[in-house]
């Protein structure tokens, strides 16, 4: 069991590229505080960056919109939930679960699935339209 116990925080942000860069670095730093090795923290940073970029491009059509990011550490399980209030996914969005990398258009989501131990895409709880992505990774010492 991690010495870090259970804790977390929630931040509200916009899908501005500068803000996305800042937030993904803050979450990577949080993972390090939670016990993540540097390599894992850098991969978590990539996963968060891809999730936020997807929200910008798909939910807000490349524009700026509101996001809520919740970070929790429960024992060794580090989780990030990113919710938007934008355009809903028109079909059940899934993380590509293939042995071979998919077409390049899906690389971001594919990498997210490769890096994180659990990934779930659901309806946002912020409104009845948006999308939520919850991703978790067990932090090993």
């Amino acid at each position: 069991m991690s010495e870090h116990g259970s804790w977390g925080f929630t931040v509200q942000l916009k899908t501005d590229p500068h803000v996305i860069r800042a937030v993904r670095k803050v979450i990577a730093a949080t993972a390090r505080i939670g016990g993540a090795r540097d390599a894992d923290a850098r991969l978590i940073e990539l996963s968060v960056g891809e999730a936020l970029a997807n929200a910008r491009f798909h939910a807000y059509q490349g524009g700026v919109g509101p996001i809520e990011a919740t970070v929790t550490l429960d024992g060794e399980m580090f989780s990030v939930t990113i919710q938007n209030e934008g355009k809903p996914v028109t079909r059940c969005s899934q993380v590509p679960d293939t042995l071979e990398p998919p077409e390049s258009q899906s690389w971001g989501l594919y990498l997210l699935g490769q890096i994180m131990d659990e990934v779930e895409i659901t309806r946002s709880t912020l409104d009845d339209r948006g999308t939520a992505i919850r991703m978790s990774k067990r932090l090993s010492e």
Partner: protein
């Protein structure tokens, strides 16, 4: 801080990239890679020096893959040099390491098929030709780079 610049020689064009390739910078990185890969003035191979890369997202990785395809069209090889461990792991996840040679250092190019020692010496010792608007090479020297890996 992001920087991307090109060092040219008769043997190869070396694209150096420093910092984060993300939503803010992927377009500039893509332009740098595309321009170098498809340049008629580049008669040799193409090297992308990743030793000072901090972060690269899917759009940056896509730019590398597009660069590979452009190099193929121009009958030259694209070689990646000195990716940090976390970047190399991402390249492996996408199986780009099966499509692109990845070398530890510029020196390792001497053992690579398309680069012989004589040409390499000529390449790394030449005064860099800076692409307009790009910064001159200001990174660590290759030996120091390898030592720090």
């Amino acid at each position: 801080m992001f920087k991307c610049w090109v060092e040219k020689s008769p043997l190869a064009a070396i694209v150096h990239v420093r910092g984060d390739v993300d939503l803010l910078t992927a377009s500039a990185f893509r332009t740098c890679v595309h321009t170098t890969a498809s340049s008629d003035s580049n008669n040799g191979g193409m090297i992308v020096d990743l030793s000072e890369l901090e972060y690269i997202d899917a759009s940056g990785l896509l730019a590398l893959d597009e660069g590979r395809r452009l190099c193929q069209q121009h009958r030259r090889e694209l070689v990646l040099v000195a990716p940090p461990p976390h970047v190399e792991r991402i390249l492996e996840m996408l199986k780009l390491t099966e499509l692109l040679p990845v070398l530890n250092s510029v020196e390792a190019l001497s053992k690579h098929a398309q680069f012989n020692d004589e040409q390499l010496d000529k390449s790394v010792n030449e005064t860099p030709q800076v692409v307009p608007g790009r910064e001159p090479h200001g990174g660590r020297d290759p030996q120091e780079r390898q030592a720090n890996r």
